[in-house]
Symmetry: C2
DNA sequence: CGTCCTTCGTTACGAGGCTTCACGTTTGTG
DNA sequence: CACAAACGTGAAGCCTCGTAACGAAGGACG
């Protein structure tokens, strides 16, 4: 920090590289511990697994909370990456495909690594303090923004023309129209409503499943129910026409 | 325990009464601490607030986990009570009213006491061990059963005749038809699917809201969006007729 | 009324985790 | 080679959980 020349150096020095690698290894080891032993993460364990002692970790993370925060930031970033990858593989005017891809990606992220999902979305973390709010909060917002921007791209194609319900209250209509000025674009209120509906349904399913509140349903049945959930979301957003139901008058 | 006569005594002795009161006070104080200081619950703090010392609490709860478990059991019981009360106030053949009452009650439970909701549904509690699974698990299941049985009563009135989607996979259909033999009744698979869809949407909304993932929406707008969510659930279960949408072909 | 026994609460204490500190050691640099 | 920065270690302090031993309160029963 003393010389401005050092600040402008773009190529990281050897020290910086090995330091970055160590940080990465610490985080990887910590995530492994979280996966195995649950939420009670012991600094000494991480260090021992790396062939070090506990105090050495404080050269890299000032605090146990900061390590958890870093894991959360990485987790949200990875989630955004996976969502983005899944959504970019869909056709830009295929709202039904978008919904399926987003829902499946969201759920798979939770299923593939329940410990990480718990870390991200199970709020009462041990020692959850102010610090986490200020570092992981924006990261969580970025994940939300990923969904939002991607959905907006689809919506701009006019694919949300016939949602099943487009009721929105006056307060929400004004907020949705104005609040997102940061991105430079306005969002139709009903589109944003659709996003929130989608998010609530998929997030709720993922939470229930990950936190073991659906243990009375077999894995296969859960898969089928999730499929039905997806189809329902496609219907309610008007991405699919309603099914021809002979019972329906 | 030595005399069988004492076991059969129905009226609790004075000691038992004061002990029960103390347990109640401990739990109340602990919940207060949870509400104020978050998840890091210190035994010494609880004791001090009660004018006692920490080891005294071990006369009433063998473990910090057992205290948390007791709080969870009470929380789920209270949630069941509130849900039951809200649902009993609805007409028995009014599915739309049932959905509104259940959703509002569920969300209000979360909003009224976010700390308790976090305790119940934010899984990664500090020191979450095997014990919690075996004590609070059934309590959580009881809450689910409350919703299920109440919904079944409504469904038995034939109100779920025209759900928007009644797709269910073969695995789920057989499970839903057979698994609930414990209650002596079978449940139509599509009804159970509707329950799960309802649960995912409402639980997801409550989680997002409680865990502050919707901080970018004002309170009023959130209320409006939740209203829209309810209406959507009413539509997808066939409780309400689809709106007359001039844009719809 | 006096004695006993159970329960309750306290002080004292040990175990274990987080975090800091002082000190050597390694490593890159001029 | 000399120097400085970063790194890692052992020792130590602090805090919390949980246990143990002891004293006090209070109901049960002669």
């Amino acid at each position: 920090m003393r010389s401005t020349a050092a600040e402008l150096e773009k190529v990281p020095s050897r020290r910086e590289r090995v330091r970055a690698a160590t940080i990465k290894e610490i985080k990887a080891t910590a995530m492994g511990m979280l996966r195995e032993h649950g939420a009670d993460l012991r600094f000494a364990d991480i260090a021992r697994e790396m062939g070090m002692t506990a105090p050495a970790l404080y050269r890299y993370f000032a605090d146990r909370d900061q390590l958890l925060s870093a894991l959360m930031v990485d987790g949200f970033a990875e989630m955004s990456t996976q969502l983005t990858a899944a959504l970019e593989a869909t056709e830009p005017d295929d709202l039904a495909g978008w919904i399926r891809a987003a829902a499946v990606s969201y759920r798979n992220f939770a299923k593939a690594d329940p410990a990480r999902f718990s870390l991200l979305f199970g709020l009462p973390n041990p020692g959850f303090g102010q610090h986490n709010q200020h570092t992981s909060g924006p990261a969580a917002g970025a994940t939300m923004a990923t969904l939002e921007q991607s959905l907006r791209a689809v919506i701009d194609k006019g694919q949300l023309a016939h949602p099943l319900i487009r009721y929105v209250g006056p307060q929400w209509a004004t907020e949705a129209g104005t609040a997102q000025a940061a991105d430079g674009a306005r969002i139709p209120a009903d589109a944003y409503q659709a996003l929130l509906h989608f998010l609530a349904a998929v997030h709720g399913f993922a939470c229930l499943e990950t936190f073991d509140h659906l243990h009375w349903i077999s894995d296969q049945a859960r898969d089928e129910l999730f499929e039905a959930q997806i189809e329902l979301l496609q219907l309610t957003t008007g991405a699919l026409p309603p099914p021809s139901d002979p019972d329906r008058p």
